[in-house]
């Protein structure tokens, strides 16, 4: 099962990162995060005994970036097979065991991690981590299960080839990272999925599901001592480490102009962007504020106003930082009817130029800071969302005290800094714009 942060659709990948920008600050109630340890594994815990539910989220760093060449999709396929039979249990027996207690267990993969999502009623917490451990340490990879999941993943790949959104996203990453693992499709191709063997899956599970790659968060109706015990049960007997992987940092290729990928469709999908600012850059928070002003999220931003509100060119239009472990991007997405693609590209370029040339206003900076500071606690509206956020904070190496520091970091952003970043980091000539659909005319001229 692929759910939560690790859903395969590119749109959600951008959304997930957009959520990261809005990380943490707490004018209302601070989140009380405890650091716990069990079986040699560390985790962040938030206790909440008001509902009988436990949510556990985890990530093994690596994910699809570890897929061998020619075996693209291996991380995702491994994830999809972990709950398809483990130990003495066949796939059906394993699924029965989960369903008997309404335990939700899912695995998925993105460019940087293989993710784990577990949710159970608190009375079933022990059974849930037993099953999780079995899936991680003794997956069976039975032949019938492999063929079933291969068929499902290939079906998804065939569908994606018909969808402008998917085609545009894959083409954007391929163009940006021609010589890097990030340029390859996380979901694989028909051929690469066909080439994956049981041995490949076993090797990936053994090498990539190790404690040195692991990040865990637990939220809900569980005491620290019980959570420590669950942690030891779930992960304690995983190997400490596997073969080291060496994924290099990379700067995306930019300024490629307009690239058209033909797909039969009424509406074209646009993916556009340039390089971003790295998460550990001292200017990151300035960049986050400028990004919010420009690309938004929700129903307010310069792009939203110009493209949707003023011109009626698109239903959805936004742009935001996309921070990967080894690259920093700023990416926007939108969709418009084939006849208006050229016009939409013009408006996007015009707004990009205006940001660079004229900068932002003091009011815009004030509003964006208020949004970024205020939105974090307001997003913590379920145990699963809190747990996902805690995993993300750890993936970004932000520290357990980050929540307390965040408001001040954003609050310190000033107008002059914002305009310095608008000028130095946003450049219309650096844009790459991918159009998937059947755009009218020569959109390359735009």
């Amino acid at each position: 099962m692929m759910r939560t942060r690790f859903l395969p659709t590119p749109a959600l990948m951008v959304l997930a990162v957009a959520a990261l920008v809005a990380v943490i600050a707490s004018p209302a109630r601070a989140l009380d995060i405890q650091r716990i340890e069990g079986g040699g594994v560390e985790a962040w815990l938030v206790e909440d005994h008001s509902l009988p539910v436990i949510a556990l989220k985890a990530a093994f760093r690596g994910g699809a970036s570890l897929d061998p060449a020619g075996k693209e999709g291996l991380a995702r396929m491994t994830g999809a097979l972990l709950d398809e039979g483990a130990g003495e249990m066949s796939a059906t027996a394993f699924q029965d065991a989960l369903e008997d207690r309404a335990i939700e267990l899912g695995f998925g993969a993105d460019l940087d991690a293989l993710g784990v999502s577990l949710r159970a009623l608190s009375r079933d917490g022990d059974a849930a981590v037993d099953l999780l451990n079995l899936a991680l340490t003794r997956p069976r990879f039975d032949a019938d299960a492999i063929e079933r999941i291969r068929g499902q993943l290939q079906s998804r790949v065939r569908q994606a080839a018909d969808e402008p959104d998917s085609v545009a996203w894959d083409a954007y990453l391929k163009a940006s990272f021609p010589d890097h693992v990030y340029g390859r499709p996380v979901e694989g191709t028909l051929e690469s999925l066909a080439a994956i063997t049981a041995e490949d899956l076993k090797t990936f599970a053994r090498d990539a599901l190790t404690r040195d790659r692991l990040i865990v968060a637990i939220v809900g109706d569980v005491t620290p001592s019980d959570a420590s015990r669950m942690l030891a049960t779930a992960f304690g007997n995983l190997p400490l480490s596997g073969p080291s992987s060496d994924v290099p940092n990379v700067e995306p290729r930019t300024g490629l102009g307009v690239l058209v990928r033909p797909v039969e469709a009424r509406q074209s999908s646009l993916v556009f962007g340039q390089g971003g600012v790295w998460r550990d850059d001292p200017d990151y928070y300035v960049y986050a504020v400028v990004s919010r002003i420009f690309g938004g999220g929700g129903l307010t931003s310069r792009l939203f106003d110009a493209v949707r509100e003023e011109e009626g060119l698109a239903y959805s239009i936004s742009a935001s930082p996309m921070q990967l472990d080894h690259a920093a991007l700023f990416i926007g997405r939108g969709g418009t009817v084939n006849e208006r693609v050229g016009e939409t590209i013009d408006v996007v370029r015009r707004e990009w130029r205006r940001l660079h040339d004229e900068g932002v206003t003091a009011d815009e900076v004030t509003d964006a800071k208020a949004y970024l500071i205020g939105s974090f606690p307001l997003g913590l509206t379920s145990s699963s969302r809190i747990a996902s956020t805690l995993v993300s904070l750890q993936q970004e190496n932000l520290g357990i005290d980050y929540i307390d520091r965040r408001a001040a970091l954003i609050g310190a952003v000033g107008l002059e800094d914002a305009n310095r970043i608008a000028r130095s980091k946003f450049n219309a000539d650096a844009l790459t714009i991918v159009v998937a659909g059947e755009p009218d005319g020569d959109v390359g001229k735009h």
Binding site: S26, T92, A102, T300, Y315, S316, G335, A370, T381, S382
Partner: protein, 465 residues
Amino acid sequence: MRRQRCSFGALRRLGAALTIIGLLALGTAASAADGVFNAETFELANGMTVIVVPQPRQTAVTHMVWYKVGAVDEPRGKSGMAHFLEHLMFKGTDTHAAGEFSQLVARGGGRDNAFTSSDYTAYFQTVAKDQLPLMMALEADRMTGVVFEPGQVEAERQVILEERHSRVDNEPESLLAEQLNAVQYVTHPYRNPVIGWEHDIRAVSVDDLRAFYDRWYAPNNAILVVAGDVTTEEVRPLAEQYYGVLAAEPLPPRLEGSEPPPIAARQIVIRDQRVSQATWQRSYLSPSYRFGETKHAYSLQVLAQILGGGPTSRLYRRLVVGDATAAPLAVSAYASYDPMNNGPSRFAVHASPKPGVDVDRIEAVVDWELDAMRAGEIGDEELERAKRRLQADQTYARDSLFASALNVGQAAVIGLPLDHVERWPEEIAAVTKEQIAEAARDVLAAPRSVTAFLPARDEAAAALQ
């Protein structure tokens, strides 16, 4: 139903009934509560209903206003108008400029959006508690003060057409669902897509929209839901201050939709060159909580779970997993049923055949399993497992602020008492095999059905793979 593999999210499945102004992922929409909500309700002097859903653990509050008006209330030839109006509600009032509402929400770190269904239209914001009075002031303001500026309406018409292109026209599966709906309902206005037919979206006038707004938007046609760390004692004076001052207005009677007795099993096919993965669906005209043989509404939920609720369900096992005697035929299979409608619901079975598999073979397996249901061939264990899962989903839904507000509001806006939501787990627990069999015999009958097929563009080529 939950749990589909791959990327068809909750939104896609709700798509026919629910369209949304922005990019919003509705979470798992389980059906109701089991008493832990402890929702409380009261009415203002002007007839506006208020419901408070106390969630002391939450930092944020969700503020929602639901109107008892939706696509079913649109005049003939004006489909999509309820949804069009929903978009215009963000375009400013006599006292607030276009987009100002959303800006004020964002300034507090909050999020706002809206959604339209056949039966209702709802607006919501998730904000910090201290923003609640501001939200009420703004929402009350746009209940009566929306301006209809022709230039803005035209720009928004283009936005809505783009929304239709992305949600429906670009997706052959959505086109199939839209056509299926139009064939399933012979006379009931559920036959029209909530987003509207394209020619209707293009034709609706500013005057049409203003008249629709004037007719239906009034406090006595609205329900306020506030969920979060709030009490009735806190909400009541605020509701009275901001909403209580609005005057009640005379409301026209709502059309009571009806359907003639179904007598024809119908089949539809869309051949579309864009499709590389075939999909198949069989849908039956069904009772809901409010229409037809409502006694079947709970049995059908358990039936959908047993038949097609996730990887342990019968259809998934038979069609996707296969067994020693039969190779798998499909890449996905599930059932869906949602009784939360004023009018007749649909019970549907969905499957995506593996490349080269003849859809007749899928249909034969589905018919076999449906016959087993009609005969009451249901194991004690699978019945209990299905109930446990439905009730656990309920608990999981309570874990989410938005899902809590959504469940309570949805029930209220179609006229169900709060008690209905609170009693849901007991009703599910009481469902028997005999009741499931009876529901299957009554509802899953050929004359009530539409079978829809979207073949892959080149079945022959697919067969060779």
